[in-house]
């Protein structure tokens, strides 16, 4: 056997063997073993590195709010990101097997891998921008939303505080006074951008009509200030197309009207007399502005999505390679036996691919542990603390304001420990493979 021969060589010429091993050992020692050892040692000292604090840094790590958040986010990342990326990769790989332009499709899905994490981060920072005019994600959402529901006539309009118009929970404004036929009401609103109202006619007082409840809704703000509040001054614009409702005491709507070009409206006296007037909520519904992707709640899922965008292609390519090696006969045999495509996928393809899927999953898990740039770039600084992960917290505590490299080293040690089970899994698998 070869190994017996090797042992003989080692016995005969130990020096030669040492010479061959030395460069590799030196490199390993200097670049891996020593840094690990030093990091572990450093993690037991305080910020200045001068006094020994034992496990205090680790205690801090698990009790401090910032690092706890980083820890829990990292766990979310480890569970979600590799699973989703691998799942999508599997689906893509299986589906592309049977389409005509498979290579082109694979190329497109794989392409994000060619971009650096930093660049991908910047791209997604722009995608997730809150303003629908700038952020792609919100632009898409707003477009879809607005297709199904029209915008309000005067989303910015609001009454001045304490002018007899009370805001309701649903966004409508209720007139405090009771409406009387023959007594025209004035309903002044403000807050409309001058540009929005520039096409409006001048407001006019409503005629007193004993057979109707009348009034005017207008923009009670003369350009350049001036003008008297609650009075229709010359030059003040009407607010047309506003829905005015007469509401009975039980809350039901007795009548409704829409303001005309000069801002006036008229409701039949028999229905509206003695009711309360209300400016309907639909007039004021604020424009839909999309989702706050980078707010505290959605920031981590949003960043994970950008990670999946990058790495699903990686998973797909590996799985597709494995898929090509799956024996066709087995699949054919299953189909001949009457299995449908789902059963073939579920009972044949996935089990045959299982070892490969495990490799992809574990590789991605290790990769996810060190995710830093995406989080650092995508999360705006106001929600960075909510998006925090261990690798970022390592950097922040080591080189940020606190400059606490003791705590930073403790986080590094924790990351190493988290990596160990995955490494063991991979090594064990490699050994099994060799045995085969």
């Amino acid at each position: 056997m070869a190994s017996a021969k090797a042992v003989a060589v080692i016995r005969a010429r130990p020096w030669a063997v040492a010479c061959f091993l030395l460069p590799a050992l030196l490199l390993l020692g200097a670049l891996i073993v020593y840094p690990i050892g030093y990091t572990i040692q450093r993690s037991l000292f305080d910020a200045s590195g001068s006094s020994f604090v034992g496990l205090e840094n680790f205690q801090d790590l698990f009790t401090n709010e910032a690092t706890r958040k980083a820890l829990s986010n990292t766990l979310i990342w480890i569970v979600v990101a590799p699973a989703v990326a691998t799942g999508l990769g599997l689906i893509f790989a299986v589906l592309t097997e049977r389409i005509r332009w498979a290579t082109a499709f694979k190329l497109v899905v794989f392409m994000p891998m060619a971009i650096s994490m930093l660049a991908a981060g910047i791209i997604f920072r722009l995608v997730y921008e809150q303003d629908p005019d700038r952020g792609l994600a919100n632009a898409a959402l707003v477009t879809v939303h607005d297709t199904f529901s029209g915008g309000a006539a005067w989303p910015d309009a609001r009454p001045r505080p304490d002018t007899g118009l009370t805001a309701q929970e649903d966004g409508a404004y209720l007139v405090d006074a009771t409406a009387r036929a023959g007594e025209p009401v004035l309903l002044p609103l403000v807050g409309v951008k001058p540009a929005d109202a520039s096409g409006e006619a001048e407001a006019a007082p409503a005629a007193a009509d004993p057979g109707a409840v009348t009034g005017t809704v207008w923009l009670d703000f003369a350009p350049g200030g001036g003008g008297t509040q609650d009075v229709i001054d010359p030059g003040e614009k009407a607010l047309s197309g506003l829905k005015v409702e007469a509401v009975r005491e039980d809350g039901s709507v007795a009548a409704s009207a829409t303001t005309g070009d000069d801002g006036t409206f008229s409701l039949p006296a028999e229905d509206a007399d003695g009711t309360q007037l209300r400016l309907a909520a639909g007039n004021f519904t604020a424009a839909y502005n999309g989702v706050e992707w980078l707010g505290p709640t959605l920031v981590t899922p949003a960043i994970i999505a950008s990670y999946v965008w990058m790495w699903a292609g990686f998973a797909m390519v590996l799985i597709a390679a494995g898929l090509a090696a799956v024996p066709r006969e087995t699949l054919e045999a299953a189909r001949v036996d009457g299995a449908n495509e789902w059963q073939v996928f579920r009972r044949i393809t996935v089990p045959l691919l299982a070892p490969l899927l495990a490799v992809v999953l574990v590789t991605l898990m290790i990769n996810v542990l060190k995710v830093f740039d995406l989080v650092y770039v995508i999360a705006p600084s106001s929600s960075q603390a909510d998006a925090n992960v261990l690798a970022l917290e390592l950097y922040r505590s080591s080189f940020g304001g606190g400059a606490n490299q003791g705590l930073g080293s403790a986080i590094a040690v924790l990351l190493l420990v988290l990596c160990v089970p995955m490494m063991i899994m991979n090594v064990r698998r490699l050994r099994q493979e060799k045995k085969r």
Binding site: R125, P194, Q384
Partner: protein
Amino acid sequence: MPSSIRGPRRAARAAAAVAVASALAFTAACGSDSDSNGGNGSGGGDNGGDHAPSIELPDLAGQSLEVAAVWTGAERDNFVAVLKEFEDRTGAKVSFVPSSDNVSNFVGTKIEGGAPPDIVMVPQVGVLHEFAEKGWLAPVGPSVQEQLDANFGQGWQDLGAYDGEQYGVYVKVANKSLVWYNANSFAAAGATEPTSWQEFIDTAWLLSDSGTTPVSVAGADGWTLTDWFENIYLSQAGPEAYDQLAAHEIPWTDETVTNALTTLGELFGEDTLLAGGGSGALQTDFPASVTNTFSDLEAPTSGMVYEGDFVAAFIAGNTDAVVGEDALVFPFPAVDGDAPVVTAGDAAVALTTDGTATEAQEALLAFLASTDAARIWAQPGGYLSPNHSLELEAYPDQVTQDIAAALLAAGDDFRFDMSDQAPAAFGGTTGQGMWQGLQNFLRNPADIEGAQEYLEAQAVRAYGH
């Protein structure tokens, strides 16, 4: 980072990578920033022409000096013009060395290497104290002290002193108590410059009535929020309480902090008054808050934006607005007491390894403290000096003159930026300390108590007491 946001230096550094996206738009500004510089780079020597020299300088022919500062671009060129005048008058050779943003690290390594620069511009009070404590600084000599006494108020001298010994000269400062507004928006609303907080809030509502969202708050950049808070706190609780809070001698759960946050909540708590509402403000960074106010002059996203004098340079470099015509400024309104003046600045110090300064170091420090230097420095714009002997006409435009006048009018009641005095972990780090605490407050302005508890917990952690 562009020179225009020099004031909040640490902020700029910390935000650097996060703001990469916005930086795309905003690096373009660096290049065009020099318009205020107007080819003044070499003409420095002529500027003193109308004025008799206010300082006698020794003959230093053959000697050479090294000056380190973080300034780049136009800011650097303007400073080099000042150094040129010194060279002309003494015969010494002065070279400018860019220091990295982290001056503390920069100087530390230089000292260890045995070749420190002769003069360094120190941006934070804490760093000056740290250097003095380590014995890296030479106390100023009689000629510098003479200039200091002649030109600087006691407050500015004290900021450059440590343990009773004078080390630094505050040569360049920022006035961070300014509100910039869009002149068109104010005209359309018929609004006038407010002088008290109540008037300020009323003006905000008036702007809102007129259809302009009143204020753009750069909530994504925590340092702007700390400046909001500091101004209100200084005016409301007074300078003594301000000093105590800056040293964390009173807790953040103190009633004065509650009051300041309640006051701030009158603005932050009203989504109608903030561009994008509270959540929108949290995603607005400093450059965006300025462009919100000045890029569209007719129908701006917001009517007012708060920050220091460096906004002027940013407006000039990034928008079509003309400072003094389209973009006007008023001092931060007084809340309960006097109008606050919060400042930041750079102190020139002489580095030494043996405890004494050389004649050349001494001469340069004295020159920088002199009115002659300030006058040359002031002319291109983008500069404020705490030197009260400098006539206001030395500043290039009315707006700068007003800002300088407001700064000097505060006498010794100005206060240095609290977040620049605090440990960096509390006053200058994304996602923690004051930055995060005030962002939490902006996100949920009703929860004053929660914000205070967070701030106190963070302060205890950072100050260690």
